[in-house]
Symmetry: C2
Subunit: 515 residues, 2 copies
């Protein structure tokens, strides 16, 4: 016999959940012992739960299997929710282990009692509250199955303390067995092929995880049919560089997005949804494709996109073709850093195998496009959920999943201010992460958006709610406070040089890029 927490840990380990990002409390003490015990699970302590949930997201994006979070009751889960929102939108499997009071303690309405299942529901694909120790193994296996079947998602397992401390049989259950992904039928493939050969055709590639092979196939299909290739605005992860086609993406900015899509008459959706505006704007549509456009779905994000593209390539007689990703921009000199210089600096500094976590917000215009011109193979991670403060936490998980690959975060200073505690876990776990903080000391995107959404221009009253300059955040001091060495740069050349240095050194570094 063992206890419930131990049986739970055993089922996790048997199913490849061997990594946990933790911020525990009293109700999770049995789980702490079990997760750090004999099952070989690796644990990373986080000072804030949003770091843990973002890290689990980043881990799954790279490892393609779930990590766990360990969270303390409803408030601990609440702090994790914003980054779980991003995981949900990225179709990332994240398993939350949330401690709960012992079952008969809940009715006493102690200080920390809250409705955990309701809190979890909006961001979770599956929520299970364990009710007896004997069911732990089966219920844990079930949630791992549910959260990974079809579109992967967030699973929240609520573990009452008495279930964790109760006596249990060892957690031997058959491993999770996921069904194969579906392929489109011939008629669907033919319809997509026909649409792509029409005038004004666009292939929109939009699976959360865009592999190199998907892009090669999509590029060949578009070359054979004359269709335009377009990516969704954000993906959970895209393979890039080393001659891949430098997949363009639908712009965030509403008028730019509409301009990109205004002539599309046939849209073939390959893993993508029909594109929608990030926000609603007065006098602008929510659906971005023109009303006259016909939409054809090759397959959804739940299906076997690579297989579907293989079938489509065959149907249109596509031949392998070398893409032109565009010219790597010149290495920047002593100019001040702006969006263009940032893009050039990062593209030139990218090391082989880099994982870039992009939270550059208003300064990302050149960053993504230039990244695709890099001669080295790398992965690009983006935010499909829009909840900011995701990049440093996600970087932790990516670095844990891929300890031999350098991770580079590019984040606005406003964004980085949601989860600065991430820096401490980077230092504690000795992760090779380079954090570039773009210090423009402003919620610049909001200053841009205010007039676009019809709310006028920032004025003397409202500007103080958009500016971060009073006092300026000293990112170098902050970073050192959390044990991460930091430098400050003001030119493109210095930024490029510092990224190269930081990537080459073990452990984390922060670079404050003054803009």
């Amino acid at each position: 016999m063992t206890n419930g927490a131990d049986a739970l840990a055993q089922v996790l380990a048997q199913n490849g959940v061997d990594t946990c990002f933790a911020n525990p409390g009293t109700t999770e003490m049995h789980m702490v012992q079990a997760l750090t015990g004999r099952h070989g699970i690796k644990n990373h302590l986080c000072l804030f739960e949003g770091v843990a949930s973002g890290a689990a997201d980043g881990y799954a994006r790279m490892a393609r299997r779930p990590a766990a979070t360990l969270l303390h009751l409803g408030p601990g889960l609440a702090n994790a929710l914003a980054n779980l929102h991003n995981a949900r939108k990225a179709s990332t499997p994240v398993l939350n282990l949330v401690g709960e009071h012992a079952l008969d303690h809940i009715a006493h309405n102690a200080p920390l009692t809250s409705d955990i299942a309701t809190l979890a529901a909006p961001m979770s694909k599956s929520v299970v509250t364990l009710t007896e120790t004997s069911q732990i193994a089966a219920q844990t296996r079930q949630i791992l199955t549910d959260m990974q079947t079809g579109t992967p998602g967030v699973g929240t397992l609520i573990v009452p303390n008495d279930v964790a401390w109760g006596q249990a049989a060892p957690g031997n259950v058959p491993p999770v067995d996921l069904p194969p992904l579906a392929l489109p039928d011939d008629r669907t493939v033919e319809a997509a092929a026909k649409a792509l050969k029409s005038d004004g055709a666009m292939l929109i590639l939009g699976h959360p995880f865009i592999t190199a092979r998907m892009q090669e196939l999509a590029y060949a299909i578009c070359t054979a049919t004359g269709a335009t290739l377009m990516g969704e605005a954000a993906t959970a992860r895209t393979a890039r560089g080393a001659g891949l086609p430098n997949l363009p993406r639908i712009p965030f900015q509403i008028d730019a997005a509409l301009a990109h899509l205004k002539d599309v008459r046939q849209a073939v959706l390959a893993g993508a949804k029909a594109p929608v505006a990030f926000f609603a704007y007065p006098e602008r549509p929510s659906a971005l494709l023109p009303p006259a456009c016909t939409e054809t779905t090759l397959c959804t994000a739940d299906d076997n996109l690579e297989g579907a593209l293989e079938a489509l390539a065959e149907a249109v007689g596509a031949k392998p073709v070398k893409a032109d990703p565009g010219q790597l921009p010149a290495a920047p000199g002593e100019q001040a850093i702006d969006a263009e210089i940032l893009g050039a600096a990062v593209a030139n500094a990218l090391p082989e195998g880099a994982i870039v976590i992009d939270e550059s917000v208003t300064n990302g215009l050149y960053l993504y496009a230039n990244g695709g011109t890099s001669p080295v193979a790398h992965d690009w991670i983006n935010n499909r959920g829009g909840s900011i403060g995701y990049s440093m936490p996600v970087a932790i998980g990516a670095a844990v999943a891929c300890p031999d690959r350098p991770v580079i975060v590019v984040t606005g200073d406003g964004s980085a201010s949601y989860t600065p505690q991430s820096l401490w876990t980077m230092a504690r776990s000795g992760l090779n992460i380079t954090v570039v903080v773009l210090a423009n000391r402003r919620y610049k995107i909001l200053a841009n958006e205010m007039s676009k959404i019809g709310a006028g221009e920032p004025d003397e009253g409202s500007d103080p709610l958009l500016s971060l300059d009073q006092p300026p955040i000293d990112w170098s001091a902050l970073s050192k406070g959390y044990g991460v060495p930091a430098t400050r740069v003001e030119t493109g050349a210095a930024l490029m040089q510092q990224i190269r240095r930081a990537v080459a050194e073990p452990g984390p570094s922060l670079i404050e890029a003054v803009m």
Copy 2:
């Protein structure tokens, strides 16, 4: 005509909601303009939503009227929830203004779309989604009424962007009119009087807001009847010092709590609930009063506690009596700082009118008891919800509500790590807050709790999930990074001297007390 956001701001200002703690996004731009416009509402920018919600909680605890938060969609609300949990448990009126996509945009499931109302429900007393501009004034008045009637609580007003930008009539509605609080009937008062005159009687005083008058009455009642006076484990705010009775409180630690209460045969609940264990522990009861104890409720926290105590005092023939709050401890010398020295240093350093925000966790044993011996009148704020990371945000709100009173935060380093961004708002808004961070570099409470809850002792595997020493957080660097000057102290004398200095200087200061 005006727009919906402006009508909303007008109703807020008319009802005394003149302070907002904000972290806005695109969907809140019209509200930013309205809240910073002609209605005289004062706004404080926060880098993280948990700071905003905690600040609104602290504001209401001191001002006894609600402040607003301004939050960006579901993820912005999610980040605010942990401190809203504490506000809910403290019966604090907090009004969340949460932006939402324009109503017809929601069905398009854009990246930031989520189920805001469900997220809000567990921590809110009232959740209202505005549905048309013409109803804004009435619906805003209604939520202000609902959240302040009976037990005050959190109101969440979800504001779709098109409702905010739509044309509206000016928001003229009658001011909110709250019903008077109820008084107990004579029979209830007599029953309480009789119980207090019995053997083994205890008066448990537990309103969220304990005034000086309540304590004087309770002390006189207990003196007249021979009953023991006891406070709940935590209150939202308690008046203390200057000869008040130094209200004891039910200990957090389960065995100490049971020992305190084991001989109680008659418990009279004055605004309090029957005490329950903070957590469930194997072989320990959840209800802390002995099974043989009879409970008599004088009144609940929803009622007029001061009036109820007046009636009870009259019923038992209580006379005003001078309390003995105990001896102010000697000022500490050059000793290292431990819980006892901390208590002595703070008690001796307390300035007139101080507001103490207590998140001292394992180091609070002497802090509260010694604070009550202070010769100066002050207020003590505690956490009734147990979600940590509350003290620095609450301090912001308290300081905004009471700009002429010094605010002193005493917080564990683990706790302070949830919402460090608070420091920036303290600097930005120029608030006289002294933050004492107790740097023991450990989740010491968890190391204590692990064995108590039957999970064994921390071992080589589990200890790394309880320790914060690798790397040590440099609180001075962190604080300076956010624009708050900082010092580090290692002795009781230095701690006391630095608190005195920091309180006397305008603006915030941080003191890292190495333990």
